[in-house]
Structures are given as structure tokens and as C-alpha cells.
């Protein structure tokens, strides 16, 4: 009997600390800290949402961002969507995101697969070229010249092709592909499968996680396209959503000029309320918030792969 107790005591003493049953204090402390962290993340979002639904007088009283909701006033959303311009831009951006993600993902997967097969032709120099784009950016004017020279200006392709492949995403997917057991690939090859069939039937189904994650990266990137649209899209009807929403945020703001703020005629006639600005933030964030839960389960696995295996 006493021997058993002694063994238990010894076992307890040697047990590493994380195997101990957590104390009540420890658990509540953890809960408290996590709750605080979650609140720190949720609080600004809450404030944005509430402000977007607040009336002008509530905003005035708060002197800016509202925390405590007083009323439900969706007029800011009506203002944004009444023009027709925002709805148009939402369609443009949706099309851009779907098309762009498909193109980017297709190209990246194909390139990554090619580069992940050790024997493929010239894969080292090619990989080097891809990695070079990490370091060297072509510059504003040269990029502009190439895009306009190819006749892409004012076309959605100007937002897709120049940024179709991100070297980072390529490296992540390639690392994942390299990790697919070569036995599987070899056995498929013995069964008579060609490279495309191996990619589609063997490698891709095993890499759903990373493809989902990279797809999300691309999709968010296309949804957030802004600067290239400023450069390449002149046609007001083809502007993506971020560029249009940004114009609501800035409406009526005098441009920031050191020392000599110009008197711009007309632009301050209808300055937007803070509510409109916050409604814009909500509208911009919603798609990411909606899509994220579906991709989330792949997220950790997909991203960590790239991190620990080179």
C-alpha cells in the first residue's frame, strides 16, 4: 500500500508541468486573459459597426467613434448603395476576385508542381527567377509601360496579369507538393498516369489545405486591389470596390498639402459623416469575414507547411 503511494508521489513529482491538472486559478487566469484579448480584437470592430449605424448627433456627442448604441440608423448604408456605383463596383470586384483567383491559383499550382519535381527541366534557374521577384520590383513607370503597351489598360486583366503569381505563394505550394510521398507518385506513374493526371488525381487531392489557404490569400488580394486600379483603370464603371469605397471615405477632405491647404471648390459640399466612413469599413470587411470560416480549418496546416519544411 505504502509502496503504491510512494510510486504515485514519485510519478507526480516527475510529471512535467504541462501534464498537471490545471488549477482553478490558473484556468480562470487563462480565461480572463483570453477574454481580454478577444475583447481587444472585437472592441474596435464593435465600435466600427455601432458608429456605422449611429446618427450624426450621436456621433457628435461622442466626439467621434461611438461605443454605446443609441439607435439603429442605417442611412449611411443607403447612401453608399443608392448611387449604383457601389453595386456596380461590387460586381466588378466579385468578377475580378473569381477570375483572378482562378487564374492565379491555376498558374501557381502548375508552376509549383513543375518546380517541385526534382528532375524537371531547368527547375533550379527557373525557381531562382521566381525568387528574384521577392527582391526586385519592376518600378512604377516600367510596369505602366508594359501594361499599356500590351493594351491591357482599362481592362480587368491589367489587375490580374501583372500580379498573377506571387512568389511567396508559389514557394508555399511547392514546399507542400515536395512533401507528397514520392511512392504515391511513382505508383501512379507505374499505373500509366501522365504528369497532369498525377497532379490532378494524386497531388492536388492531398494538398487541399494549402490550395485553400493560398486561394484565400489570392482572393483577399484581388478583393483588396486598389493601387493598380488607380494606375490602370480610367473607366469609372470598371473601378473595383476598394477604389470606389475609398472615394466615399475621402469625400470632402481637403488634400493633405504641407503648409498650403488648397480651397477646393465644391468638394466639401456634402462631406460624409463618420457613419458613412465606418459603413464603408463594414462593407469592405464583410466578404473576408464570410469566407474565412470555411477556409479556417485548412489554415494552420496550410501555412505551417511552408514554415517548417523548406
Amino acid at each position: 500500500m505504502s509502496a503504491v503511494v510512494a510510486t504515485r508521489a514519485r510519478r507526480r513529482a516527475t510529471r512535467p508541468v504541462w501534464e498537471e491538472k490545471p488549477t482553478v486559478i490558473g484556468r480562470s487566469a487563462k480565461a480572463l486573459i483570453l477574454t481580454l484579448l478577444v475583447l481587444a480584437v472585437l472592441f474596435p470592430m464593435w465600435s466600427v459597426l455601432v458608429t456605422s449605424l449611429a446618427s450624426r448627433s450621436t456621433i457628435n456627442e461622442a466626439g467621434g467613434m461611438v461605443v454605446v448604441p443609441r439607435e439603429f440608423d442605417p442611412s449611411a448604408y443607403f447612401t453608399i448603395f443608392s448611387g449604383g456605383q457601389v453595386t456596380q463596383a461590387v460586381w466588378t470586384s466579385t468578377l475580378l476576385t473569381v477570375m483572378g483567383t482562378a487564374v492565379s491559383l491555376g498558374l501557381t499550382v502548375l508552376a509549383a508542381y513543375g518546380l517541385s519535381r526534382p528532375g524537371s527541366l531547368g527547375h533550379r534557374p527557373l525557381l531562382f527567377l521566381f525568387l528574384l521577384t521577392f527582391l526586385i520590383y519592376p518600378g512604377l513607370v516600367p510596369s505602366y509601360l508594359v501594361v499599356t503597351g500590351l493594351g491591357l489598360k482599362n481592362s480587368l486583366w491589367s489587375l490580374i496579369l501583372p500580379t498573377a503569381i506571387s512568389a511567396f505563394n508559389l514557394v508555399v505550394i511547392r514546399a507542400f507538393f515536395m512533401n507528397v510521398p514520392s511512392e504515391l507518385v511513382d505508383s501512379a506513374r507505374i499505373d500509366g498516369a501522365g504528369e497532369f493526371r498525377i497532379l490532378l488525381r494524386i497531388v492536388l487531392p492531398l494538398s487541399k489545405a494549402v490550395v485553400a489557404v493560398v486561394g484565400l490569400f489570392y482572393a483577399v488580394g484581388y478583393w483588396n486591389v486598389y493601387f493598380n486600379a488607380v494606375l490602370y483603370i480610367d473607366d469609372n464603371d470598371k473601378l473595383p470596390i476598394q477604389r470606389v469605397l475609398q472615394s466615399y471615405i475621402l469625400a470632402g477632405q481637403t488634400p493633405h498639402v504641407t503648409g498650403n491647404a488648397p480651397n477646393l471648390p465644391g468638394i466639401s459640399a456634402y462631406p460624409p459623416t463618420l457613419a458613412i466612413k465606418m459603413a464603408v469599413v463594414v462593407v469592405t470587411v464583410i466578404p473576408a469575414v464570410l469566407v474565412y470560416p470555411f477556409v479556417q480549418r485548412h489554415f494552420t496546416k496550410g501555412v505551417i507547411t511552408g514554415a517548417v519544411k523548406g
Binding site: 446618427s55 467621434g64 456605383q85 519592376p138 503597351g149 481637403t254 498650403n260 480651397n263 471648390p265
Partner: protein, 557 residues
């Protein structure tokens, strides 16, 4: 001709050429490739020659209630009942679509083909104008790219502050835009009477390398800043508008009440500097008594202004958001009565007064009359007659086409009180606006489809202020403030001289301002000013001084 891509059609050789050009641009070798970069610029100064300027002829179709004077706009206290038909002939002669590009700070209206306002104006013009409105806050990048790639539209609107940032802009002007001297100089402008009515002071700035290259969009107020007060709340607190800095400080003491969430001031430093008489020309230069130039940082006035403002900050008379961050939303703080005085451009006035009086009865936003630091001293108010925008015409379109485009610009310059003006400003009656007792009221369609950047920004116009029902006293208040303050407007030493400042000088300005900000909010002691000034001088300030002194000497000033 108007399709910018037409001459860039892609074939293999062309594409290789593009790659080559791209490489040249990277190396900074292309003629305009340097447009987006300031590196290495030593600065260029050129002067306006009076002979190339259009001869001024006023257009007296509608008499203003308060006549304009120099850079002070005309005032109209009621909307005219009989509009004048200023231009009887259609300006367009059926040429191809005129593509334009202009900056805009607001929601983007629908484009040509989906916009009934554009259709209405284009029908009146007799030629299609296809405006492209670009985000005003990133316009510099857009401008750099289009100039660098020589991909300019038929009409390009460039704000003066963006031009100042673009190195070798005068090279770009010569290479890309039409020389308008022969079309507009002297009496030649008679063919475009509305353009002839723009002030000579504005035209003087449109000259590059001795030739006239652009149509100016005159400013409707020369002042860079005003100190605004919430007159309703100040009256309620029994505090009169300050007339010197001591009173300003006392007002701050009386009005600040952190317990109620009220502070007297937002940003005020630029206004304080002007009260103390600091110079503001080209970011702060003036002639020294013994010859040569001195920068405001080196003056005693600046030191005093800084000392005074540091005191306001230290004694917490300035709203904590303004102390903590650069980008505090002072307009919202002011509207909510959280700050009672702050500096802003005069352009902010009408919009804020109009919108806010709807939700805050009695809301009264007024500029504090300009005051000197001490009783008996005079302020120096910064500003100039520099036009807000310049409109350039693409080079090589041919004389007939250029004339057609200038006729369109002439139409776009029609003044307040003309039918052309009303169509341009509001659209079609019954569709884009309804006629109220105080003049046109935009409909929802009007608000959606009409933006000044589509036509008004193109042609310049004689600046005017007119009464609107939501800001009944604005016109008188605005013009009275200007009439009272114009005597303090600092003369522009460099008027009519085009300056492309040395790169080192341009680069040292913002970092120096950031250091001064650190002094203001207490991160650095006041005694650091000497060090900051010597860093400013060695970092490019002295180079800027030498350049500007030479520019003055070359022009015999």
C-alpha cells in the same frame, strides 16, 4: 487619335521596345523616366514673360452683389432669375471624343454611356467629352505614371501642389503638351472670351520656359489657413474672439474643461506662426534686412511662436487626440464642440456649416479675424494667387483640334449666372435639380451623376460665391473675412517664377516639420530648436536658400 492605345498596338518588336524602355526608365535614362523620381535634381527656375499672357477682358453678363477684387471671389446674394446665354455657338465641331483626366475627392459618378448629365452637357458641347476622374489623394502616382509613360489624355488637369512634387516637370510639359501661346497670347484670346476673363494673376503661373502651356483654374481664396471658432459656443461661454495671442491664451484657459470633454484648441500652430509674423513663401522664406534670404526657422518670430504654442500644449489647452496623433479628426471634434478653435483651409467652411446646422441648431462656424501677436503688431497671412489646377492640352493634335478643345474649355469657363454655368454645375432642370426659392437644389440623380471634376475643373472660371439656403450668411461672411484680411496677405516673392526646387531641400522639409512636432508635443525640449535648425540647414536648407537667392537675382528682384 484619341485612343491612347492606338499607337501602342502590340507586336513582338514593339513589346521588346517596351521592355527596353522599361529598362531605360529603371536606369533613369529616359527623357521623362525621371518624372516620378526627384533624385539628383538641382532645381530649375524660369520666369513668366508678360508678352505671352492673354489680354484680360472682364465678362460683365451678370452683375455680382459684391464685386470681386483680385483673388477675392464675386459674391451673389441671390440666385439670378434670368440666366444669360453666354455662348451661342456649339463649341464642338464634331471631332472625336475628348478624353480628360482630373483629380476628384469624392464618390465617383457613373461614366460616359451611363450618365445622363454627361450626355446632356455633351449634347450642348457638340462633341463627346469622356471624363476620367481619378482619386485626388493618389493623383501624384497616377500623374507620374502617365507622364513617365507619355500616355496622356487630350486634356489633363494637374493640381499645383502635385506639379511642385514632380521633378523635371518643365521637360514633361514641353514634350507632352501643346504650346498654347499662339492660340491665347494677347488679343488672340478674344476668340475665347470666357478664358479672357480669368485673372492675369492666375495666367502668370501658367507659363513654362517662357511659353503659355496651360489654362489656370483660379483660386477662390488666396489664404492657406484660417483659425475657425465655434462662435455659438464661445458666445455662450462669454468669450470674445481673441485679438492677440495673450487673449488667445486667456480664451484657452477659460474654455478648456477636460471634465466635460472640452478643450479650447485643435491644431493652431500655423495660425500662431502667422500671428507672430513668420514668413510663409515657399515654405517660409523672406528677404533679410542685409540682403539674402532667411527661413522662418531661423527667425525670432518663429522661436516665439513655437514657445507660445508649446505652452498651449504643455498646459493641456489642446485636445489630447491632437497632441497624440497627427491624423486626429479635428472636423468631427469641432462639430461636436469638443474643440472650439482650430485651423483649417477656408474651403472647409461652407460644407461644415451647411451640414452641421441641420443637426446642431445654432451651429455657427466663423473664422477668427486675423490678428497680430501683440496689440499693434500685424499678422503675416500665408497664401498666393496660385491657381488650384492647370489644364494641359495634349501635344500634336493639330491646330483645328486644339481650337475645338479650347472652345470646349471656354465653354467650361462660363461664369456664374449663365445658362452654361447652370448646366455645368447642376445639370438639367427637373432631372438633376429642381428650382427652389434660393436657386437649384440637386436631386438624388444630380448628386450621383454630377461632379465638378467632369467639366468645371477643366476650364477655370471667374471664382464666385453664391447664397445657398443652408448657409444664408456664408457669402457675406466669406467675402468680408477676405476683404478684412487681404491687407495682411504676404506678397509672393517668387510670383510668376516657376521653381523646381533642389531635391535635397524638398526632402528636408517634412522631417524638419516632424521634429518640430516632437517639440510641440513635448517629446523634445524647446532648447533642441537650434539643433533642429542646423540640421535643416545642413540637410538641404542652405542649398534651397542658395537656389532661391539665385532665382531672385536672375530675375532682378
Amino acid at each position: 487619335m484619341t485612343d491612347p492605345l492606338a499607337d501602342a498596338a502590340t507586336n513582338r518588336r514593339n513589346f521588346l521596345g517596351l521592355i527596353g524602355l522599361g529598362a531605360a526608365a529603371v536606369a533613369g535614362g529616359g527623357l521623362l523616366a525621371g518624372c516620378s523620381e526627384k533624385a539628383g535634381s538641382k532645381g530649375v527656375a524660369s520666369k513668366a514673360d508678360k508678352g505671352v499672357l492673354p489680354k484680360f477682358k472682364a465678362v460683365d453678363m451678370v452683375k455680382p452683389d459684391i464685386p470681386g477684387e483680385g483673388p477675392i471671389p464675386q459674391g451673389f446674394l441671390s440666385y439670378p432669375t434670368n440666366l444669360v446665354d453666354a455662348i451661342s455657338e456649339k463649341p464642338g465641331s464634331g471631332g472625336p471624343t475628348i478624353k480628360t483626366m482630373a483629380p476628384w475627392w469624392g464618390p465617383v459618378p457613373p461614366g460616359l454611356g451611363r450618365n445622363s448629365y454627361l450626355d446632356a452637357v455633351n449634347a450642348e458641347l457638340g462633341v463627346q467629352v469622356d471624363p476620367s476622374l481619378q482619386d485626388g489623394n493618389t493623383y501624384f502616382d497616377k500623374l507620374s505614371a502617365t507622364l513617365g509613360a507619355r500616355d496622356v489624355p487630350d486634356l489633363l488637369v494637374a493640381p499645383n501642389w502635385e506639379i511642385d512634387k514632380i521633378a523635371r516637370f518643365s521637360d514633361a510639359v514641353k514634350a507632352l503638351f501643346e504650346d498654347l501661346t499662339d492660340y491665347l497670347a494677347g488679343d488672340a484670346v478674344d476668340a475665347y472670351p470666357m478664358l479672357a476673363s480669368l485673372s492675369t494673376g492666375a495666367w502668370e503661373y501658367s507659363v513654362w520656359g517662357g511659353r503659355l502651356y496651360a489654362v489656370p483654374f483660379p483660386t477662390d481664396g488666396p489664404f492657406a489657413w484660417a483659425l475657425f471658432q465655434r462662435k455659438d459656443l464661445m458666445d455662450a461661454a462669454g468669450v470674445a474672439a481673441p485679438t492677440n495671442v495673450d487673449e488667445l491664451y486667456q480664451a484657452g484657459k477659460k474654455l478648456t474643461n477636460p471634465g466635460k470633454g472640452v478643450w479650447a484648441f485643435g491644431s493652431v500652430f500655423d495660425m500662431v506662426q502667422q500671428a507672430f509674423g513668420c514668413p510663409g513663401v515657399q515654405n517660409g522664406w523672406r528677404k533679410k534686412a542685409g540682403g539674402g534670404l532667411e527661413h522662418k526657422y531661423e527667425t525670432e518670430e518663429y522661436r516665439q511662436a513655437l514657445e507660445f504654442t508649446v505652452r498651449l500644449y504643455k498646459e493641456k489647452l489642446v485636445h489630447p487626440d491632437v497632441i497624440a496623433t497627427k491624423g486626429a479628426d479635428e472636423k468631427t471634434l469641432f462639430n461636436g464642440g469638443k474643440i472650439l478653435m482650430y485651423q483649417d483651409g477656408l474651403g472647409a467652411w461652407q460644407g461644415m456649416q451647411g451640414e452641421q446646422s441641420k443637426v446642431t441648431p445654432g451651429y455657427n462656424m466663423q473664422p477668427v479675424p486675423a490678428f497680430g501677436a501683440h496689440p499693434g503688431t500685424k499678422p503675416v497671412l500665408w497664401g498666393s494667387e496660385k491657381p488650384i489646377f492647370f489644364t494641359f492640352v495634349k501635344k500634336g493634335l493639330g491646330a483645328d483640334r486644339t481650337k475645338e478643345i479650347l472652345r470646349v474649355l471656354n465653354w467650361c469657363a462660363a461664369p456664374f449666372g449663365t445658362k452654361e454655368w447652370e448646366l455645368r454645375q447642376y445639370g438639367v432642370e427637373g432631372k438633376h435639380f429642381t428650382r427652389g426659392p434660393d436657386g437649384p437644389v440637386p436631386t438624388d440623380l444630380g448628386r450621383k451623376e454630377v461632379a465638378e471634376a467632369q467639366f468645371t475643373f477643366l476650364g477655370g472660371r471667374v471664382p464666385a460665391k453664391w447664397k445657398s439656403s443652408d448657409t444664408p450668411n456664408y457669402v457675406q461672411d466669406y467675402i468680408n473675412y477676405h476683404k478684412a484680411s487681404i491687407q495682411y496677405l504676404e506678397p509672393d516673392l517668387f510670383k510668376g517664377i516657376k521653381l523646381e526646387l533642389p531635391a535635397n531641400y524638398s526632402k528636408v522639409l517634412q522631417p524638419t516639420e516632424d521634429k518640430i512636432r516632437d517639440v510641440l508635443n513635448g517629446r523634445r525640449p524647446l532648447s533642441d530648436l537650434d539643433q533642429i535648425v542646423s540640421e535643416f540647414r545642413s540637410g538641404g536648407g542652405d542649398e534651397g536658400r542658395a537656389f532661391l537667392e539665385k532665382a531672385l537675382a536672375d530675375n532682378g528682384r
